[in-house]
């Protein structure tokens, strides 16, 4: 969809096919593959019929749990996402052609990313894990219980977010509209039974060499004696169900949850095998946080959210706590920063304060989706995202913060953490 909404002033305005080349030239320390991946996340993809003819549900991962929507607003079986030659993933969704996405096509016997009519990089569909063919004893297809990236298992046990109850969902988020679609179209329950999760994870781990980590995330649940106690209770149940499959008390895992109080974090650490913790601030500016994340702002608040992240480092350790941002929303109209230059500076300043206290910041590229309050807007320039990736990576290098738990294997959705592959420990 073309949009008449004004945008923040870009760092270096360049358009078209030359954009990739000029951004690569401006950032010689960022590999072309990472720049390309970032641009594909930014612009989305369109699969040609020839490319879709190569999709084999017996061999490839086809879209599964749909916790968040696609940019074209459809729920349909399509490739889950793409693998690059360097083993990293591009997590992206089908995007209407009029928004100028990259095209995925079948070229000379291979699957390729095509831009401006020219093939520019070979890609592969994600391989399907063995367990996708199975069902739990309760009859649920396992692919709807736990979804798989090339090297990680994703558990989305609770598909509702209570911030939406009061109309305070994050402005870029479509979890609740997706929940309705998922329930109607796919029969996925809003809340998973821990036993289904236990069975599915046990089955997934039977596949040799496939997975290196498990990520658990869900919508926020404000209920409980203390706010979010109900969310913690449920995570404890789910994590214990997952932990039943491991012979070690701890297992490589990441919980992306609300910013919990220290006692809640201690409990997660004490009662489960969880090894890392993420609480997403989404945007690193107090004023914009209040606008973009009204539920988080009212129930926790920006400053308290940051403090809880810092206190989480005491519980999980340095290099095991981070916060995610949806990069580009800080430039959204009408209240976002007026220029990309300001957005970058302010974001990196805040990220540095967090890094100095042991908390990493990682970003995903904002993809404005229909069904969100910011639908119809555009995300930032490629140059902005690449500069942000370099900046966040540089902070981790400067403050000696490892990011193994959220790297290209354990997530794959953060261009900034891809760069850590070259860091000496």
């Amino acid at each position: 969809m073309s949009t008449a909404i004004a945008q923040a002033t870009p760092l270096h305005p360049v358009q078209g096919a030359s954009e990739l080349a000029s951004v690569c030239a401006r950032h010689p320390d960022v590999p072309r593959l990472v720049v390309l991946k970032t641009d594909v996340q930014r612009r989305g993809v369109h699969y040609t019929d020839r490319a879709l003819a190569l999709l084999d549900p017996e061999r490839h991962s086809v879209t599964g749990t749909h916790i968040f929507g696609a940019r074209d607003g459809r729920i349909a079986p399509r490739p889950e996402s793409l693998l690059l030659r360097d083993g990293s993933s591009i997590i992206t969704t089908p995007t209407p052609l009029e928004q100028r996405p990259y095209v995925v096509d079948h070229v000379d016997g291979r699957l390729a990313l095509v831009d401006g009519g020219a093939p520019i990089e070979e890609v592969e569909y994600w391989p399907r894990p063995d367990y996708y063919a199975k069902r739990t004893r309760s009859g649920l297809p396992m692919k709807f219980v736990v979804s798989a990236r090339p090297q990680r298992l994703n558990v989305f046990p609770y598909r509702h977010c209570h911030f939406w109850n009061d109309g305070e969902g994050c402005l870029f988020c479509d979890i609740v509209p997706q929940l309705r679609k998922g329930k109607d179209d796919l029969g996925i329950p809003a809340r998973l039974d821990p036993e289904d999760v236990r069975e599915t994870v046990a089955e997934a781990l039977r596949e040799p060499g496939r997975f290196v980590g498990i990520c658990i995330t869900a919508g926020s649940n404000t209920r409980g004696a203390r706010p979010f106690d109900a969310e913690v209770d449920y995570y404890v149940e789910i994590l214990r169900a997952i932990g039943a499959s491991f012979r070690t008390p701890r297992f490589p895992s990441q919980l992306i949850g609300t910013a919990f109080e220290p006692a809640q974090l201690e409990r997660l650490r004490r009662e489960t095998g969880l090894t890392s913790y993420t609480a997403d601030l989404e945007v690193l500016d107090e004023r914009l946080f209040s606008w973009i994340c009204p539920g988080k702002a009212r129930w926790v608040g920006y400053r308290e959210w940051k403090e809880r992240l810092v206190r989480a480092v005491d519980v999980f350790g340095r290099g095991r706590v981070d916060t995610g941002i949806v990069a580009g929303v800080e430039l959204a109209r009408p209240h976002g920063f007026a220029t990309e230059e300001e957005g970058l500076r302010r974001t990196l300043d805040e990220a540095e304060e967090l890094a100095s206290r042991g908390v990493s910041t990682v970003f995903i590229v904002w993809s404005p989706r229909p069904g969100t309050a910011l639908a119809g807007q555009r995300n930032a320039s490629l140059d902005y995202y690449v500069a942000l990736a370099e900046g966040l990576h540089g902070l981790r290098a400067r403050y000696g913060l490892p990011i193994d738990f959220d790297d290209y294997r354990h997530c794959g959705n953060h261009p900034d953490t891809d760069l850590s592959r070259l860091l000496r420990p």
Binding site: D29, P31, R32, L33, V34, L83, R85, D86, G87, E124, W126, P127, P150, Q151, E207, P208, G209, R210, R409, R421, L422, L423, R424, P425
Partner: protein, 154 residues
Amino acid sequence: MTATSLDPRIPALLADAATVKILATSDRSGRPHATVAPSIHLDDDGRLVHLERLESSGTQRNLVASLWFDRPVAVTVQRGAEAFEIVGVPVKALVAGPEFRRQYEALRARAPEDDLAAVWLIEPREVTELTHDVRRARQEAERPFLTHLDRLAR
């Protein structure tokens, strides 16, 4: 140089367990790193295959840097006096999928404690024979000024 133009002795050398294989890489700043890499072999497309067992190793880091910034690596293979250097470029890291799984299972069958970070595919670009007798004969024939005179004296 494409794989089909590899010296015909190389596939046999790579297939022989008695052959010593050294993989030399460098980081972005040029810091060199060499490691004995017994897993190196040829695939059906004539690419060198290296099994990197540690995600945190210097070799893994340097192979990523090579793939990202199109920098060559060198593989030296030697059995007895016979030796070659193959200069190539890492073109792909397999981390999941049927071939990765096949290699992972085979590796774990040989070494149950081991892990596999990536299966690296390295495209050969240039091959040089390093067999010492061959190189000495070539030097003596082509560059006569490089020889000590006493070796030529009556």
